[in-house]
Amino acid sequence: MTQPADLERLVHAHVRGLPPPPAPQTLLPRVMAAVASWAARPWYKRAWFTWPAAGQFVTVVTLLALTIGLLGLLPVVARPFVESLADALADGQAELAMLVAYARVTSETAAGLWRAVIGPFVSYASTLVLLMTLACGLFGAALNHAVVGRMSAE
């Protein structure tokens, strides 16, 4: 059984010894005809830089005219869009002002409630929470000392 490397060498030696298949006699005339046809193509199918000066001048002038025309036409075409956009912004602005007013009323109400109802009790509530936290801590420490101390005594 031939190893893959041996097979590679065998095939390589044989195929590399093959002479290149000769091109058909028809290839050269075909290529020369195609080249002649390409060289004889009309000027407007070639690169712009190779066009006649008159053709280049006409295209530049046309391009400029189109650009200027588009720029002149732009405000007329864009006006309806600009106006509708401005209307939409104005509507949006009114809604925004209303939202700001609502927010202001809500915050003022919340501040009044805080001052009248919650504020006076905050200091007392904070002291109570602090004391309860300390008490819980002390109770936990005492419990831990009692349990661990008993286990180590045993």
């Binding site: 195929v15 091109a23 058909p24 290529v31």
Partner: protein
């Protein structure tokens, strides 16, 4: 000497090389001639730069290879489909093309006939085996470069080339047996 005469000499000098690369990759004389014409037309468009360049042969080979791959790419989906189908049946024996060619090879009496038979055996390989084989043995691309060029996995390239070599081995063995 006019540009046309110079270019004609250029075509005469390189046409065998370009055509050989194309016909081996494409397996069709008609397609290879079309590709060769396209390649030389592109060469004409850059003739001022490559006409007398020592790199002209390399440029022509690279362009021919790319044009062949472009030509094949329109059949690429079908190519992959059949290729993967044959991979799935990898237990199948190597295609019987070699057996068919073996007879003519055995009867060949001179080198030219043997060369023709081997060329024909390469041409008869399925496309998904012939193209990587040609890129490896004639164009001297590595397995990885072939995988990158054909957008297939490295393993698939190795498998396809190995199967192509197996197919050619039958022809070569028949040749050795007759010597």
């Amino acid at each position: 000497m006019t540009d046309a005469r110079l270019f004609e000499a250029f075509v005469r000098r390189y046409q065998d090389m370009v055509f050989a690369t194309a016909v081996r990759m494409l397996g069709s004389h008609a397609d290879a001639e079309d590709v060769a014409q396209t390649v030389f037309l592109r060469a004409f468009q850059r003739f001022a730069r490559i006409g007398s360049s020592p790199a002209a042969a390399g440029w022509l080979k690279a362009v021919t290879r790319n044009e062949c791959l472009n030509h094949l790419s329109r059949y690429r989906a079908r190519w992959r489909f059949f290729s993967e189908l044959s991979d799935a049946r990898s237990d199948d024996p190597v295609p019987a093309l070699a057996d068919a060619r073996a007879g003519s090879f055995r009867s060949a009496l001179d080198d030219a006939a043997r060369h023709r038979a081997l060329e024909e055996a390469i041409r008869q390989l399925p496309e998904h085996q012939r193209v990587p084989l040609v890129l490896f043995h004639f164009e001297e691309l590595s397995y990885q470069e072939i995988a990158d060029t054909l957008h297939v996995s490295l393993g698939k390239v190795k498998t396809d080339i190995h199967r192509a070599r197996e197919a050619l081995r039958t022809v070569l063995s028949a040749d050795d047996a007759t010597r």
